[in-house]
Point group: C2
Chain length 347, copies 2
């Protein structure tokens, strides 16, 4: 949600019964700038975050009740898990109400909006788009900083993670960045953004453009836009292309993995080299945006296999390929920094 | 709006001050199946539709007031014009309220929804999507009839007109069709459909798939899907691609014109042959859909120029090209009927 500048939060993360698989909770712990004072999940209560999930990089106590969480003086309760069916279960409602009564802001990335459920407290429904998103205007073509966008050969392939790892590499290098979040977890992590798939279709590109214009306001060296979906995902390709054109990207980082699972409904993943070429060609209808690197998700592979797979993709595509988790995003950052800023396509 | 089967309407078309440029009014007169009993526009009142706009193919009296319109026993008032700024002007409100008080249904394709403005009467806000559009599921891959979708080198290039002319050619040939409308004018013309650019982005493809599933229910020989936007239109490309993948099209008709105006914000129209190739390649990520014909909009050209231009596009693309308005859509229909039904892309 725009605007970019929000108060700092001290989060208690509500993850009752499922902290282990809680994507938004994990994202906030791993990449968020806001403080996390505790996690609420009664089964592992008494242990700590790093005891339960050692890869999350920062620790916090795990507690079993709202009352215990309040002892850590949170400002906000993050609903860090997604219920089956997308509706708020009754057993969560009591805990959220208790936190709200204690004066906490409720932060939720659920599809179901919580503001109407808790009308008397401060609720940030992260998926709710601003109500004044304009149509795409072309103003984004004039944005000063270079804009890099992650795209993928499928959805759920690690685009957000790649983007945040590139941001981390930039921070370590002293390159200033603005991360433009486009999905609920990214928005919770960065404290602002627009959930582009929740915007009315006419305004997808306009929302992406507004994000980039907003990100440019701090005059960063680099704007990193979190990608969504995939050009070949039959359910989400519209969001992907609206984001590609609307963000006025100067270059693309193609995220790929070693899976050959179908995207959905029998539709196969495209070859990485075909995907790279097609993203470039479709982008260039509006504004050239070369794919400058392949960010490889090697989850599930052994170290040796992972190295081979990264090398294979580099060979196949003729592009730099790197694994930002097992390795580092530093070389991907180099490729982005070396890419020229492009202008809109001209006749 | 789904469902497909709606009562027949007798329309009075409200077009005060601007009947001449009223796109939805003209579309309904030219292609609609519902009766049009009169048009309301006080300046040309007393004349007839064909006196003012001879190319509209069917006549109706033009009247100056709601009272006069009521004498023709309409069931519905169509707000047939779009106000500057998208809000309902006060001077229209009185007329619409008068019609509503007389018991007429109000039919509106405005961005602004009229149901909340006139809570006590029957309002059909054509742009309002159904509230239960599901995500794309892949069920559309199994649709029985062949699905043809119009696409374009730019927006506002005549995709709806081409689709409706192909429908007319099919009717004359005894080929049964179902026209799946995706924009407000098409929906008013056919009496059902979903305005896909008004759907939340996550559901564009799902909406397109629902349209095709609905259109298949009458078991037509052919489903004709009205296209939207353009793959190279920076503001609307997301809608275009969501519709392309979601409709599970078997073949495409590429709409082109003789203009070399920019699409918007300096972005040029792509070459017709490039557009054809790129639509095919992007479609085939999900389901092959060859471009089987170019439908040429020759508005503004002299007859001889038009013929040359159509021939030039046929030569450039290697495809059948035809002008459905100056000529006929019969050959385009042939090309569609000859195209095979395709299946979803397999590995």
């Amino acid at each position: 949600m725009i605007p970019a500048h929000v108060p700092e939060r001290r989060y208690a993360i509500f993850a009752e019964g499922r902290f282990e698989g809680a994507k938004t909770a994990h994202g906030l712990l791993r990449y968020g700038k806001d403080e996390v004072v505790c996690v609420m999940d009664s089964a592992p209560a008494g242990r700590s975050v790093l005891e339960v999930a050692p890869d999350l990089r920062r620790d916090a106590p795990i507690v079993g009740t709202v009352e215990e969480a309040l002892a850590y003086s949170p400002t906000s309760l993050l609903v860090g898990i997604a219920p089956a069916g997308g509706r708020l279960p009754d057993e969560w409602r009591d805990s959220i109400a208790e936190a709200a009564e204690a004066g906490l802001e409720i932060v939720s990335g659920l599809h179901q909006r919580l503001a109407p459920e808790f009308p008397k407290v401060k609720v940030w429904d992260v998926r709710e788009p601003p109500d004044d998103v304009p149509l795409f205007s072309g103003e984004g073509f004039g944005v000063g900083p270079k804009v890099a966008l992650t795209v993928g050969t499928s959805s759920a392939i690690g685009k957000m993670t790649a983007t945040l790892e590139i941001e981390r590499a930039a921070r370590e290098r002293g390159v200033s960045t603005s991360f433009a979040a486009t999905g609920q977890t990214g928005i919770v992590i960065s404290g602002w953004g627009i959930c582009v798939d929740a915007v009315v279709s006419d305004f997808i590109a306009g929302a992406a453009e507004q994000l980039v214009l907003e990100a440019a306001k701090t005059s960063p060296d680099l704007i990193l836009v979190e990608g969504q979906g995939s050009l070949g995902h039959p359910a989400y390709s519209g969001v992907t292309l609206g984001l590609l054109h609307g963000s006025c990207a100067d270059c693309l980082i193609l995220c790929a993995d070693a899976s050959d699972d179908e995207i959905m409904a029998g539709v196969p993943r495209p070859a990485v080299s075909q995907a790279a070429r097609l993203y470039e060609e479709v982008a260039s209808l509006v504004k050239p945006a070369p794919v400058v690197a392949v960010s490889v998700n090697t989850r599930g592979l052994e170290d040796g296999e992972a190295e081979e797979f990264v090398a294979k993709l580099a060979h196949e595509t003729g592009l730099l390929a790197a694994d930002p988790i097992r390795g580092s995003a530093a070389t991907i950052l180099d490729a982005i920094l070396e890419a020229p800023k492009t202008g809109a396509t001209k006749r």
